[in-house]
């Protein structure tokens, strides 16, 4: 149990740092939108904002339930329900953000905006396989980032590709965390590294 709480504390630290980076990218993309008027930059900003809000929400929720209240295996059904709600809200927010990324950075105009709206609604309605949906949408985002990198062949596009690959890996690790607790921490590390890649992108672009 002590090991579990230690992992959760570390996870909260990683998640907080990732959330702050996501917020920085949000502000940067928003400023870029103000300068250029390119709506896709606004979408990108929205995506990162949803991600950061979801992360901060989970950090607060997890801290409250596990660290402050000391939730354990014999927790009340009400507390279990609340934890489940926070988990589902977090998972849904991430899927919404990934769908927004998929729409914003798509290289080909195949997906219409109304399709994206339907996908976002789906993310809220479907709950048991949130991780699977997240992985599926992220695979699309990674493919788009890969196409963009092979087209541009510059280091900035490479940072984005690496960032999204690491986010995808974090979800793949998380899906295996039920059978291996270590994978949970690996997932958080991969997520943090993914966001650090976005931070490096911001630093290198000036």
């Amino acid at each position: 149990m002590q090991l579990g709480i230690s992992i959760i504390r570390l996870d909260l630290l990683f998640e907080t740092i990732s959330g702050i980076i996501a917020l920085i990218v949000t502000i940067y993309a928003s400023n870029a939108y103000k300068i250029t008027g390119q709506k896709k930059l606004s979408d990108l900003s929205t995506g990162f904002m949803v991600l950061s809000v979801g992360m901060f929400g989970r950090v607060i929720g997890t801290w409250y339930f596990f660290v402050r209240l000391g939730a354990s295996e014999d927790m009340t059904p009400e507390l279990r329900t609340l934890i489940a709600i926070v988990t589902i809200a977090y998972g849904a927010s991430r899927i919404m953000a990934y769908v927004v990324f998929a729409v914003a950075i798509r290289p080909l105009k195949r997906v219409e905006v109304q399709d994206a709206g339907a996908l976002m609604a789906l993310a809220v309605l479907v709950d048991p396989t949130l991780e699977m949906i997240a992985i599926f949408v992220l695979v699309i985002v990674v493919i788009q980032a890969l196409i963009n990198y092979t087209t541009n062949r510059n280091r900035f596009a490479l940072y984005v590709l690496v960032g999204f690959i690491l986010l995808l890996l974090s979800h793949l690790f998380l899906a295996q965390s039920v059978i291996n607790l270590g994978m949970y921490l690996m997932s958080q590390v991969a997520q943090l590294l993914g966001f650090l890649s976005f931070l490096v992108l911001l630093y290198k672009t000036g």
Partner: protein
């Protein structure tokens, strides 16, 4: 086989014009040089030059001369620097501006 035509945003056109002016250095760039560098029609060029002057992003080097030459202002240089950053960021995500 037809190639997909790429449309530039107004902001990119203005940035292309300003780049042409910047590349000319202290001597300044004439309208023809800007026109070719930014790949514009004469009407569009006149319209956008007026806009750049109005926003104080460029200035006229010698207004008495029959052939005007344009220089980038400090504000214009700052704008172009910001635009390059935004351009790199956007292209990294595959977003054309």
């Amino acid at each position: 086989m037809s190639r997909k035509k790429v449309y530039r945003s107004k902001m990119r056109i203005l940035a292309d014009m300003m780049r042409a002016v910047q590349e000319a250095g202290v001597e300044g760039a004439g309208p023809t040089k800007i026109l070719y560098a930014a790949n514009l029609s004469h009407d569009r060029l006149t319209q956008y030059l007026e806009e750049l002057l109005e926003k104080e992003l460029i200035t006229i080097l010698d207004s008495n001369c029959s052939n005007k030459t344009y220089l980038l202002t400090d504000k214009g240089r700052e704008f172009l620097r910001e635009f390059v950053k935004v351009e790199r960021f956007s292209e990294a995500f595959g977003i054309e501006i």
